[in-house]
Symmetry: C2
Subunit: 600 residues, 2 copies
């Protein structure tokens, strides 16, 4: 490979027996055993055992002084390990390298933690990120991340997609999430924004005749961070002209199958199931249902509209009210403590309680049921509940009754929680498979409860279903969008839509969103302009790369698949960014700090 | 390909004769000829001629209404063109498509310019960038850009390089160029900086055991813009461990050969010539000499130290003075007007004049020379000049005499100017080839004339030559760096170095640069820290992708190889970025505008 090195440590196998190898790597462990020094030498491909015999004085002396994480160059001969000392966990486990030269390329001060310590705090790991990145799991995660992005590139390249870079310094359009701003020095008082996505630029590229575009690129959102959010994140961003929604979905579903297969060996189903938004919300209370969980909602809203039981009745009669049951097979054995814990859990989502019925013996009617709420419901209603949910002896039924949003959020989360619980797994309510799903036919608009206005469910450039154009202004709530999300194991992997390619439809959508002509021109004039010059039918989608790799590696946090991530306070503990800057810099940018007390 | 389209327009050839094709594209030109309508339909792969006959009434009627840049879907039959109407310039030039259906996918308002107009102002092109991008040259440039980056990825992938993303929101280190700053909302009064390069992060990745890293990524510099600069630019950034300078240069020289060959068919020389910095400055006055130009400097400083002629004598005796001659073969025929123009040209670089001697007839001595300065020089000195420059009858010698920097800049630029002139080409002073060059052995430090201190020639993380470590503090001016630049046709394509991997050497360099321990810790503590944990020997380089593609496509401006560039006033004419933002946004970021008059 080079003058310093002939082989990677982790790839020295018995095929090289008897040969001389030059290795470069780090001391993973050093032990003195029967007067011989053994060094586990590590590089990015793995470990190899290096043996330093006392009969080679120079080698032995050098080896005596090395410590963990010293960077060494070793020359040695590949020899068989003694019988009984073979390590089946290593590719190099059958051999060892008998050192004839040991050169210290660089010493190391004692490391603050052992690299194979799995119980490090995240603060320790992020502060010493460089050492943390030497750990096997992080090496694996970032290598897999690379493999995935390269497989994506190959797949798209074969289909004629072209990677075109879009600007990082762009225009602030304060819709959706908060922008990161960049003050301009040359244009005093003006600001660039970092892109939340290349959405409009990729549409312009379609108008500009590029036909098929992709980019694996950074996007930015200045939002309060959750476990799976970062200020900067990476998107696999794609757009094509002249394809139908179905063709786009097929193309990217196949991409995901190929990428999974070629990087992890996992075979995703073919085809992916498809579910419309309305069904997903009705059955699972979520637009990204985890299909591995074998639990479903039963709609009880109509039934409860006329019952006397206030909790159910008043919820069912709310303008946006909903009452559902969720049958949990074999849930009758669930102890009271577990039900109490679930009651607390759904409270996080705003549910003010968690009604349930245990079905002990259906045949006995009311007497066969065990529940605090049975007394409030008539025999007829109880019979209907059992009938509709299909509950059997030994089952349990949970109920949600509130505004639809609360019911969906609370019971939707409970559904996943139970599915993933010990109980759920034992009761066969969880299939441990890779379970993708397309969710389609999203509504164009959602009603903003605060402002009494409509907001775009996806974004304002999403096309309505054919024939729904006329309803954009007359009945926005009924408009369905040509939008689609790809869901995997309950995570939204990506989403997209067919875009509006006609200027008059785009203007209608802006009007439905109460963006008047002047504002539309100011913010999106360049798009409206472009649409007038024979814009082609086009659409696309974007995948979150960080999230995809988090899922593929089974990582607990998105931060485990990013080399240098920010904390949940949006800080880099390694470099101490963000930091104070010189007054001179601020002056050049025509800004000053507000005299507010620091909220550091 | 899809339900809408079976073939790309530009790829319909005689192999498809008799078949029905579905095409989608734009009306490039429409003409009525003998009662038949011909449409040149364009997509990203090229043009095809569509024929609409009047005997198909629906087709003819639709075709009558279409105008330039309408987006159409055409169904038709591939037929032979009539003899004599074959167009050899098109892949589809032997056939035409007889339309059986014409569908207008989207109309277009009249375009503000013809797409094949080559005399558009840049303002027009950038304002209507979407239409500008439909032009053949821009389509070609961005496709080539993609091909190049994909070839780079393939080459590096084969060598085990891994693409690892480094942060865009990082720490401001106000050295070198000016940072773009991003105010932090969560950490009041603090700022991120956009990266000027991933330099330190890639070094950290080497310390973290990744062995071979690359990234094709955006970098940012808030500098006053020249023709070949953009606020954001794209770097092919690479770093490896355990390779020597020579091995790194070989690896990336081969990359450039492979990329040129596979994308343009151009075969670059093997190997590239190598020249040290001192020689390049001595012979060409430039560290990125255009080797296609067959002109060289002759050093005359020593000779001129003792002459009486003040102009030469005083320059030669300056502490940083230099006197050179540049022989221009056959330059004797150059008219006075051309010499005057060159005199004005070198003034741009600070030269206060441009002395010359025309060599009419050497054998006649002083009388055979024609020059305003001959009278100031002795016979002996004149003879030496002729001897040293090797001038022959019919040649001309230009002189530079000033501070070395002025001489190098002025005569270096003049050298290129003459080489590229009509005269230079006729006189055989210009080889029209691809001429790469490695320039190596740069000095570690340059003397900052204003501040009386040393600055890093490359950057402060560059390693000194072996054995030069001790001179870092005792004789910084004599230290040579393990730094290398790749030059092509006089453009710096990229550069890099072996980095410092020992903490004590890095600290010495900081001290030589008058960065004290406290400041070093504050700004680069994370690097010094990392170097202590067995940092491996490592090095790398970075190429400017924009510049490479500009060179490959022969574009006049870097803006012709970027989809959505900024102007020289750092503005995007398409989206009007940067722009004003809401007071609310500024408040959230804890900043306010200074009350200065706008310099818009």
């Amino acid at each position: 490979m080079s003058t310093m090195r002939t082989n990677y440590c982790g790839l020295v196998t018995e095929e090289l027996l008897g040969q001389t190898v030059n290795l470069c790597g780090w001391v993973h462990r050093r032990r003195d055993h029967g007067g011989v020094i053994f060094i586990d030498l590590r590089d990015r491909e793995g470990l190899v055992q290096v043996v330093c015999h006392p009969d080679n004085a120079a080698v032995f002396k050098a080896a005596e002084h090395v410590r963990n994480e010293y960077c060494l160059r070793i020359v040695g001969t590949v020899t068989n390990r003694l019988a009984g000392t073979v390590n089946a966990n290593l590719a190099s486990g059958k051999i060892e390298v008998t050192a004839t030269e040991v050169e210290v390329l660089n010493a190391s001060v004692p490391v603050p933690f052992q690299l194979d310590d799995d119980n490090l705090s995240e603060t320790t790991r992020l502060t010493h990120r460089v050492l943390d990145l030497r750990r096997g799991q992080m090496q694996h995660n970032l290598k897999l991340r690379y493999k995935v992005s390269m497989e994506v590139r190959k797949y798209l390249d074969n289909l004629g997609f072209i990677d075109i870079e879009t600007p990082m310094l762009t225009k602030s359009t304060p819709e959706g999430a908060r922008d990161y701003l960049v003050p301009s020095r040359v244009n005093a008082g003006n600001f660039f924004a970092l892109p939340q996505s290349p959405q409009l630029f990729k549409q312009l590229l379609m108008v500009a005749n590029f036909d098929r575009y992709y980019q694996i690129t950074k996007c930015f959102r200045d939002e309060d961070l959750r476990a799976d959010r970062q200020p900067e994140f990476t998107q696999i961003d794609c757009e094509t002209s002249f394809l139908t929604e179905q063709e786009i979905r097929d193309m990217f579903e196949e991409m995901m199958r190929v990428v999974f297969k070629n990087t992890t060996g996992i075979e995703l189903p073919n085809p992916f199931p498809v579910m419309d938004f309305a069904t997903a919300m009705a059955m699972y209370g979520s637009d990204k249902p985890d299909m591995r969980v074998k639990l479903e909602f039963t709609e009880l809203t109509e039934l409860m509209k006329t019952v006397e039981f206030k909790v159910f009745n008043s919820a069912a009669n709310l303008p946006n009210g909903r009452v559902v049951g969720m049958r949990v097979p074999q849930g009758g054995s669930m102890p009271r403590s577990e039900i109490d814990a679930y009651t607390q859990f759904v409270a996080i989502y705003g549910a003010r309680g968690l009604a349930y019925i245990k079905v002990n013996e259906k045949a006995k009617g009311r007497d066969g049921l065990q529940s605090p709420i049975v007394k409030n419901l008539s025999d007829e209603v109880l019979a209907q509940i059992l009938e509709l949910t299909g509950a059997q002896d030994g089952d349990l039924i949970f109920f949600g009754a509130d505004k639809a949003k609360v019911v969906n959020d609370a019971l939707g989360a409970l559904r996943v929680k139970i599915g993933h619980s010990e109980f759920g797994k034992k009761a066969g309510l969880f299939d441990d498979v890779w379970s993708p799903l397309w969710v389609i036919d999203f509504p164009m608009f959602e009603h903003d409860e605060d402002g009494d206005r409509w907001t775009a469910t996806h974004h304002p450039f999403t096309a309505p279903k054919d024939g729904h154009e006329d309803m954009l202004e007359t009945n926005p709530g009924a408009c369905i969008a040509k939008a689609y999300d790809m869901v995997l194991n309950g995570w939204e992997l990506g989403g997209g839509s067919i875009r509006i390619h006609r200027e008059e439809v785009q203007s209608k959508v802006f009007r439905a969103l109460k963006i008047d002509a002047e504002e539309a021109q100011l913010k999106f004039g360049f798009l409206l302009d472009a649409l007038q010059y024979g814009a082609p039918p086009h659409g696309g989608l974007a995948f979150g790369l960080d999230r995809l790799i988090t899922l593929m590696t089974g990582s607990e946090s998105i931060r485990d698949v990013i080399a240098f991530p920010k904390t949940q306070r949006a800080q880099c503990l390694l470099t101490n960014a963000p930091s104070e800057v010189d007054e001179k810099q601020l002056k050049e940018l025509h800004i000053r700090l507000r005299n507010e007390p620091k909220v550091a």
